[in-house]
Assembly symmetry: C2
């Protein structure tokens, strides 16, 4: 691939741009300490992410739930987990604030500089299942910057639904072939490629923390079609793409 054929890079966010797990564990444990709630906070974060977010999106995709923002899926699961823990006396304001921890996830250390360098040659946008306001708050809180905030919310269809990728390219006024999906998750890249997008696989060895099996960091794609780039973070990607 000649990298100058691509005009825009679109980024998966949870796990690729930000370290969701450390941020959620820290804020959840602090919430627990304030309210006298004791549980396994890393497991709490993992359940919130996997059953609440991923599981919730699958229920939306299957039609079991109507379209809703990821904020609403996060809140629904949080209410259920707090109920299971017997929590009844915490104020609505406090619960709302914890449910919005996903708006305050911290970036990986290379994110701000890497995105800034990539932006010198490319349009740099999010393409997350997170809703627009979540992504907007997250970038402000995290000190990193998008040229525009794009989201599966704008298609009312979660990745890996092709509509999420196709709507994004349409909003960028580009054919999918001139857009590159940047993600730490191979299923996201496969779905993007199926719509015509280029692909960059980012290795994030610490996404799932020390308590879980490590992510698949091999450079091979499930389909056997090579990724256009394989990089250890965004500074490495910027180096490979000639962005100073």
């Amino acid at each position: 691939m000649k990298s100058d054929e691509v005009e825009a890079l679109v980024f998966d966010v949870f796990g690729t741009v930000v370290d969701w797990r450390t941020s959620v564990i820290e804020e959840s444990a602090a919430f627990g300490a304030r309210h006298g709630i004791d549980t396994d906070w890393p497991a709490f974060a993992d359940e919130w992410r996997h059953a609440g977010y991923s599981g919730g999106m699958k229920r939306v995709a299957s039609g079991d739930l109507p379209w809703m923002k990821v904020d609403a899926l996060h809140r629904m699961k949080l209410d259920e987990m707090l109920s299971d823990l017997g929590v009844t006396s915490v104020s609505e304001d406090e619960i709302h604030r914890l449910s919005y921890v996903w708006h305050r996830l911290k970036p990986w250390p290379d994110t701000p500089e890497g995105l800034d360098r990539l932006r010198t040659k490319y349009t740099v946008a999010s393409l997350s299942n997170g809703n627009v306001s979540l992504l907007t708050d997250m970038a402000k809180n995290g000190g990193f910057r998008w040229d525009c905030v794009l989201s599966a919310e704008l298609a009312h269809a979660y990745k890996p639904d092709p509509k999420a990728y196709e709507t994004t390219a349409d909003l960028l006024s580009l054919p999918t072939e001139r857009v590159m999906m940047v993600a730490a998750h191979k299923h996201d890249l496969e779905a993007a490629r199926a719509t015509g997008m280029r692909t960059a696989f980012i290795r994030r060895p610490d996404e799932f923390g020390p308590d879980n099996p490590p992510p698949d960091l091999t450079p091979d794609s499930p389909s056997g079609v090579p990724y256009d780039y394989v990089a250890d973070g965004f500074i490495d990607l910027a180096d490979q793409m000639g962005c100073e």
Copy 2:
């Protein structure tokens, strides 16, 4: 109004954030000089804006034209004007580039600093009839910055259709009452207020240039309901809103 009730400011762009007229005149005249086309370039810019953009949006709103991006409306009118001028030998690439002058409009001098200061306390987003890619390119080219790029394109309904304002507030996850529309055009502010938004009227005395009657700069609103703010540009607005 207590300004701390508002969480997000959304900005009209053409005329409010950027000086569309000077930018379009300059690039159109340079295009003419390259291709030996002579016409009244200020009148050319005014016709492109008023008949092409404003007139085109009215045709979309009435159902006379299907939904399309402002880029497409700009291109349709440009083709018509070039045809009227007898231009037949200019390449597609050159015409496309001129039609994208709207992606390269220059900001008013106070725009970059004013938006930066307002962003310290508020979410700062565009709310233009211009399409997302146009607005994204414009901010990159013009050296100013949005927290997120929002557009009537995301509602498939042009301002002053209430859907444009309501969709914007929904994407910000805010009730319209916590969003303030910032615009140099009173009809835009009236339509925003009708959906519940707050209003800030920005005086841009030079929007229509020296060849046209000046804009209405009086602080009064057509409905008689006072604007929450009346400001001479964004630095003045930042001062009034306590953003340093």
